[in-house]
Symmetry: C2
Subunit: 146 residues, 2 copies
DNA sequence: AATATTAAAGACAAAATTATCTTTAAATAT
DNA sequence: ATATTTAAAGATAATTTTGTCTTTAATATT
């Protein structure tokens, strides 16, 4: 469904939201270990997330690292997709048609429509905070070790 | 959602199902023009679809080309994904976790579950034939020209 | 049998994605 | 001030995906 890049972005952001605070920032080492992603590559992704949309925040230097503000925690998961430039996945035609609409629907359009609606609803309303809370409650996991 | 390869595979198969018959086969030129895909690349894809799963049939030589049998028309759309080795898209964890299950769910798991179910239902029950029929009825389109 | 037409097969190439490594800049602590 | 720690920035590389081109094989027509 998503690119590796976006998968890492989602996992990293959720992990940071769960573990970090303005006074307890997380280093790239800890993050990439936790979510099982390549370190340098993840650094790039976090860089993008801090630049675009301010989904993630960072400070350099000792005791520096990544964290996520209370405000950002209230963003919908979709904000992560947006920051990664992959928001269009939720809107794209299943068959990859450039023109696919009510007026000129592809053969899957009508059937896929309600599914797309739910996908957009899910990513548009579920917040980063909510996902992080579920991890804290232990009902849900984010680690990726076999 | 899907790779270009699979998008082309879906469009090509549906187009062939609509236009071809055992006595009226379609050339790669006509197919790739109709669905707006790179010709040689599409040829490879059709090759794969004829080899794997026999979703598409072909014969070489004059009046040869691609067609799809009545039997194959009754296959679910999922068979195309399977032939392209991209069936797992319908099962994958949204966050890309290797381990994501009821026992050890990712933070999106519970919410994504009903959506995944509908996706699998759609691709598992909708047949190639049904999609092709909708095009013939003119209620739906497959061309990709701007 | 020879020729023409078509897909199959294979080699190659371009582009995008994924990943790594090195250098630089910012912030803190000493 | 200096040294240390951390992310930012940039250069480079590996891999995968996407795409092209050439040769071969099968089938039909003449």
């Amino acid at each position: 469904m998503f690119s590796k890049t976006t998968e890492y972005a989602l996992r990293a952001t959720i992990f940071i939201a769960q573990k970090s605070s303005e006074t307890n920032k997380l280093g790239i080492e800890e993050i990439s270990n936790a979510i099982d992603s390549p370190k340098s590559f993840t650094a790039k992704i976090l860089q993008a997330l801090t630049k675009n949309n301010n989904v993630v925040s960072s400070v350099r230097g000792p005791n520096g690292g990544f964290f996520i503000t209370e405000k950002a925690k209230k963003l919908p998961v979709r904000a992560i997709l947006k920051a990664m430039g992959e928001e269009d996945v939720l809107d794209k035609c299943v068959l990859g048609l450039k023109q696919c609409s009510e007026m000129q629907p592809c053969p899957m359009h009508a059937q896929y429509k309600p599914i797309k609606k739910q996908l957009k609803e899910l990513f548009g309303t579920k917040t980063i905070q909510q996902l992080a809370a579920d991890i804290k409650d232990g009902v849900v996991f984010i680690n990726n070790k076999k």
